[in-house]
Symmetry: C2
Subunit: 435 residues, 2 copies
């Protein structure tokens, strides 16, 4: 029995979880598997501060220098868990050049440089496994790559960022402001001190990029993904949406359209009975729609130490058994040579919208607004208009039927210029069960 | 490039779907995969009636005799889709002896003879793949086998039968009786003319048996699974449970306990906010709980022509690439040699209960009943007692705290013997999010 020998680069939260699973005596997977997987060495810049906290076996290589791990000829799989682009990209490339397979959770690296890295891996006959990069333990990469291979994938959409889902859930359930909810998330460790990558939707954009390339068997520039975070969300919009039968979630959405790929991250209203509406707190869930399978959803903890470590170890098993090599050599989305496809500009998408105007309540206001919308081919499905005294500033809330975003943008420029409209109109996109 | 050559035995609904996916020109998977998979022949008893309806290519072998397919030396993978034990079991064994790999959706066969068939496959160095046997396209076998391999699986539970979920959903949403809902399901093609395998919970028992052996890396007798269907469900129990905050579903439940395996199929009350509560109609969903992953849920169409065909084709890809062979030789739950474990008698399980008594409303009735429950260590968490005139027959509904079923059974014998109790007391088990 050949033994797989693992080198771990990056001993943060997830790395520590991976070490724990691999160093258990015996590891849980060992009971289910005829294969030995041994952790040989760990590199981490701050290893000296960490090594006393973890009971490492004496024969484990412990180093501050990742080169010592990737140059070690005994090691055949490198787990890259330092995140970010530099030096992670160099580490992955050097390790591939040294003939080592890669297991990584690095979504930024794969979103920005996936095809380049896949090509290098192919050149050296090695594999890159990355189940942990999206939804941690939720087996969404395997589902898109293997389980749903008989399908033309139509759409991939879901909640792929736990931080923002925690914040929005707290705002919704406890009626607190964005700032209060974010602060609570930071105290609980669900948000970083600098939360921008999460709250601005960047992390979700990385993830939907990875999923889309796999699901749609294509390539495109990450920079073309439309990204809108949750920093501008006001409690009252959550409230009005709720009244209209919708729940607000930050969704990553990707759909194959006749003229290209619709791919975007934005706060989205979902009907209360949509399966994603009840995905709360730090949980993630991804819906995949295919021509044979119809609608599916995969749900679980999308982040955290042990769920992510679980996904890393499942990838290690896959590499150790030789399955990852076969997969990497056979499945075209992993070739690094996929056809580039056109990403639709956000103005070209078609969906329903929630609109909230701040207007002076005067006779004729509703007529002016609906007139402008009508001129731009936008029709209204429902309106909430609160009672108020004449000439008072009031919110006016509308749901539209399906409209093209470019038309909406042009209509809103005109509407925002009306004398009776006192603040920039807020709008949110809507996702129905089968749009 | 070696070409995989497929023989299909059984051209029912699912078989026709598989043929459609394989005979498409080009098949969808061919765009994503460097591998050719060719359907060479089809055997079906009624092939002569069917062959005119499907545009088969002229070089396809079409036969009423399955032996012609399993003896064909060109064919290297047999898809068994006739279902049931005979002659499916013989077909699988003969095909393995002839050196062919097996892909099957046959849950009865695997539940009753899984270990025996796995052993035969191991003997001939061949594999049996069966993703389609549980939840059709929902990749629950792959998740338990591969994605969650780093976990000690704690529990597997879910909605694994679409027919019963359709019936219960219709009863709940439209307030119709069991008979009316079943009739509607039969008209829509969701229930068989003889629905007993579904409505009596047998199909669900087959499926939870397969999942449990995989997830818990063990073996046990299928006959030891406790099975209770939905034929006795009354609309009023759905109503009272709803008032108490619960939704009724037929669940298949399997949990690793200190003293053995708890495994059962029974109508179950779930809190409204449980993710399984909103799984409606013919959809299925399976929750898997592990020590590293925590709670996960996989959701999708659990039956139907194309979802099941999608799972069959994903297995065919897996076999064709050589990954299934590696998996079958490496993953211990597929060895056919797993340790037999003790299945707990239903009297040993511990859960919360819903109880509905039909009592004559007299002073002291509640005291008699709660007294008997108390003597058997069962305490009450809530009661619904309807206003009524004295001496009238009224329903009395209770939710208990966690109790042992044996104690409940003994208490109910005493309670049912009380003069004031006029009908056999109904009870339903409850499943909370983390029990």
């Amino acid at each position: 029995m050949m033994i797989s020998k693992i080198g771990l680069v990056g001993l943060g939260t997830v790395g520590t979880g991976v070490a724990e699973l691999l160093l258990a005596n015996p590891p849980i997977f060992a009971k289910k598997l005829d294969k030995r997987i041994e952790l040989i060495g760990i590199a981490d810049r701050s290893i000296n501060k960490k090594k006393d906290k973890i009971p490492f076996p004496s024969n484990l290589i412990i180093t501050q220098d990742f080169n010592e791990i990737i140059n070690n000829p005994d090691i055949n799989i490198i787990v890259e868990l330092i995140g970010g682009i530099h030096p992670a990209k160099d580490i992955v490339i050097k390790a591939l050049e040294k003939g080592k397979d890669i297991v990584t959770a690095n979504k930024a690296l794969l979103a920005l440089h996936g095809s380049e890295l896949f090509k290098i891996a192919q050149k050296y006959g090695k594999s890159i496994s990355f189940e942990a990069s999206v939804g941690s333990c939720i087996p969404v990469i395997a589902a898109l790559r293997d389980s749903f291979i008989a399908n033309e994938i139509k759409g991939i959409y879901g909640i792929v960022n736990g931080t923002t889902n925690y914040v929005l859930t707290k705002m919704t359930q406890e009626e607190v402001t964005y700032d209060e909810a974010l602060k609570d998330a930071q105290i609980k460790g669900y948000a970083e001190n600098d939360p921008s990558t999460d709250v601005e939707g960047i992390d979700a954009a990385h993830k939907i990029t990875i999923l889309s390339r796999m699901g749609f068997n294509c390539d495109f520039n990450y920079e073309d993904v439309y990204v809108e975070g949750i920093t501008h969300i006001e409690l009252k919009d959550i409230y009005y949406a709720h009244e209209l039968g919708y729940t607000l979630k930050l969704l990553a959405i990707s759909k194959r359209r006749d003229n290209g790929l619709e791919i975007r991250v934005n706060p989205t209203l979902l009907p209360h009975d949509h399966p994603l509406s009840s995905v709360n707190g730090v949980f993630n869930a991804i819906c995949i729609r295919g021509n044979a399978i119809g609608e599916t959803m995969l749900y679980g903890q999308g982040a955290g130490q042990m769920p992510t470590a679980s996904a890393i170890v499942s990838d290690l098993v896959d590499v150790s058994l030789g399955r990852a090599k076969i997969t990497f050599q056979s499945i075209k989305p992993l070739s690094g040579n996929c056809k580039k496809i056109n990403v639709l500009d956000i103005s070209m998408i078609k969906t329903r919208y929630y609109l909230r105007y701040s207007v002076i309540d005067k006779p004729g206001v509703l007529a002016s607004i609906t007139g402008i919308l009508g001129n731009h081919n936008i029709s209204i499905s429902s309106v909430i208009q609160q009672d108020s005294r004449e000439n008072e500033l009031v919110p006016l809330v509308m749901m539209t039927h399906v409209a093209e975003e470019g038309n909406l943008q042009r209509a809103l420029i005109e509407i925002n210029n009306l004398d009776v409209v006192k603040e920039k109109t807020r709008f949110l996109r809507v996702e129905e069960a089968s749009s």
